[in-house]
């Protein structure tokens, strides 16, 4: 049965439009100024140019930092999502007595300020005498992203109908088969959302990165240090590219989820 929809009065539509404008106007300005000939981002726009994008492409430090950000982001997605899914399903299914404790423990990294997290990780890596490198950055980012994955998957699991799994168990399926063939596919949209959030968190993370990196820079670190003392619209160009990539990824995710839903609906 289709869900009831709110009546869309013109006032409601106007309100929505205003909220969206408030949220996106700064982004539009950032993109606009990335094409500005003037070094200072104020109106009136003096002229249009692709100079900043050209400078960005020729900037070797930027390319290295961008590559590092992608490497760290990709690895963080895999690690944080794997750990988060495992933790969420485990807590949901098997740990009724410890559920509250484990839930709270999993949310702790979200509540600790990143500065403290970064310094704590640095001290920890010192104690175990680990070499700082992109691997330690990935570890730090996974800790930051883990609670979000955990909460997203937990939320999805709460609305989960266990009867399909019980039916499969009655028919003799092993736990692993149930997990891989039933749970994971049904969780797929949530896992996708969690993965995207992990990537975004990792891509934007600067404080924890600063303390856990060895001699590699990531993109946010580079931008952060440029902001303080020397800035050109190259930063606007970087931001525009980031926005485009995020939009593309969000679009892909939405298409995938819709496709999955129509396939599921069609099969019912």
């Amino acid at each position: 049965m289709p869900a009831r929809r709110l009546p869309t009065t013109p006032l409601f539509a106007l309100w929505t439009a205003l909220v969206l404008l408030f949220l996106f106007a700064p982004l539009v300005l950032v993109v606009l100024f990335s094409f500005n000939t003037s070094e200072i981002s104020i109106f009136p726009i003096r002229g249009f140019t692709l100079e900043w994008y050209g400078r960005l492409a020729a900037n070797t430090t930027f390319r290295a930092a961008l590559a590092n950000s992608f490497i760290v982001g990709g690895a963080t997605v895999i690690l944080a999502t794997a750990l988060g899914v495992a933790m969420a399903t485990g807590v949901h299914r098997y740990a009724s007595r410890w559920r509250t404790v484990l839930r709270s423990a999993s949310s702790v990294p979200m509540m600790v300020p990143h500065l403290i997290l970064g310094i704590a990780l640095l001290s920890f890596f010192n104690i175990v005498e680990a070499d700082l490198s992109l691997l330690t950055v990935i570890a730090g980012h996974s800790i930051v992203a883990f609670p979000y994955v955990f909460l997203i998957i937990s939320a999805r699991l709460v609305g989960f109908d266990p009867s399909v799994e019980e039916a499969a168990r009655d028919l003799g399926a092993s736990t692993l088969t149930i997990f891989l063939e039933i749970t994971l596919p049904l969780l797929a949209p949530a896992i996708l959302a969690a993965a995207l959030i992990s990537f975004t968190l990792s891509f934007d993370e600067v404080v924890v990165t600063f303390f856990t990196t060895g001699t590699d820079n990531t993109l946010p670190m580079m931008i952060w240090s440029m902001l303080r003392f020397g800035i050109t619209p190259e930063i606007n160009a970087i931001a525009t590219l980031t926005i485009v990539v995020s939009c593309v990824m969000a679009g892909l995710a939405e298409i995938a989820i819709r496709r999955a839903r129509t396939t599921a609906d069609r099969r019912q």
Partner: protein, 366 residues
């Protein structure tokens, strides 16, 4: 019948979900291994791990070092001296060979065992420095030399000449005529220093509690006149360019872009004094490449490096030989007036830094 949700859009043609998961896993491990391997410094002879402000570590400087002295720089960036000290204290000394501290962090860093002294004999180019910088006391601790500055600057007043006419005093930042059109830096080192200079206190960084309270009163009375306390240089640049602000306490770096944007921007060291800083290459404690660090430090003091740096970043070299290579117009633009260096109150760590932070927060909250 098993229900399956296909995410085939994201899978390459013909690959099953399992195959895709396996490939992703392998790619992730591969990437992580590669990252770890690449991070471990492959012991090349002439590589230096350089912990620095982004200004000194970007592409042009790395290429310049490679070309002129065959040194491979591997820069990692920080954006404040406090961040740098925090990282070094947390164990970062193992990672880096050299840092670029501001002179006021030398004493605390030396006391905390984070840096090593340089051998003055290994810095022949130091002879070309302006005498004021060659003999600056803050670079030596207990008789050991920890750095020779290659760059220096003053934080002072940038103003919009069309609106304010010529400026020569700190009074403009406290002038009610420009209410709502002034800006100060959100940094106690600078702003409390400015307050002290305005009150005529000769040694801002040795202020006692009584003087701190007077400065606090002064700054609180200044608050209604200010448009903002700026943190990023882009903010103050934009405010000056758009006319929101007509005078601000800021870095020299904002002047050139403002002039290019058509603003008649003026720069002055007020007669009460300005706040000075200088930076140098300093070896990190425990570096295995001390000789190479000294070689690079000597290179930064050379006239070639000074000229290159001045033209690329528009900061003033501390080397007289470098300044002699620049056109007089550029020299004036860079605010190089070594005769007046004695007017600068060079930054020092105040006796009680946390008290300065507290007072600054009280000013902001008032």
């Amino acid at each position: 019948m098993t229900e399956r949700i296909d995410l085939n859009l994201l899978l390459p043609a013909g690959m099953s979900r399992r195959g895709a998961l396996r490939a992703l896993g392998a790619a992730g491990l591969g990437a992580a291994a590669m990252a770890g391997g690449a991070g471990r410094a492959w012991a090349q002879d002439r590589t230096l791990n350089y912990f620095t402000w982004s200004a000194w570590g970007e592409g042009p400087f790395v290429e310049d070092a490679k070309k002129k002295v065959s040194i491979d720089l591997k820069p990692t960036f920080y954006s404040s001296s406090d961040e740098m000290i925090a990282k070094l204290r947390g164990g970062g000394t193992k990672l880096y060979d050299m840092i670029v501290p501001v002179q006021n962090y030398i004493a605390p860093a030396a006391k905390a065992g984070l840096i090593e002294p340089l051998d003055p004999a290994s810095l022949p180019n130091a002879k070309t420095l302006f005498p004021e910088f060659a003999a600056m006391p803050q670079w030596s601790v207990d008789g050991k030399l920890y750095g020779a500055p290659f760059v220096w600057g003053a934080n002072a007043i940038a103003f919009n000449r069309k609106e304010t006419g010529d400026v020569d005093s700190l009074n403009i930042l406290f002038d009610p005529k420009y209410k709502g059109r002034l800006a100060m830096r959100d940094e106690p080192e600078d702003s409390l220093g400015v307050g002290a200079l305005k009150l005529g206190i000769k040694q801002p960084y040795a202020m006692e509690e009584k003087e701190l309270q007077e400065v606090k009163k002064l700054l609180i009375s200044q608050k209604p006149l200010l448009r903002a306390y700026w943190k990023n240089v882009a903010d103050v640049q934009n405010m000056l360019a758009s006319g929101e602000v007509v005078a601000a306490w800021t870095f020299l770096a904002v002047i050139a872009p403002l002039r290019k944007a058509g603003v008649d921007a003026g720069w002055v060291w007020p007669k009460e004094g300005a706040i000075g800083w200088s930076e140098s290459i300093t070896p990190v404690k425990g570096t295995s490449k001390l000789k190479l660090v000294q070689e690079y430090a000597n290179f930064t003091l050379s006239p070639e490096y000074g000229e290159f740096m001045a033209r690329t970043t528009r900061y003033a070299p501390a080397s007289k030989a470098a300044v002699d290579r620049l056109e007089p117009a550029l020299v004036a633009d860079l605010g190089i007036d070594p005769k007046n260096v004695s007017r600068l109150a060079f930054k020092e760590i105040p006796k009680d830094k946390s008290r300065w932070n507290e007072i600054w927060n009280e000013v902001k909250a008032a």
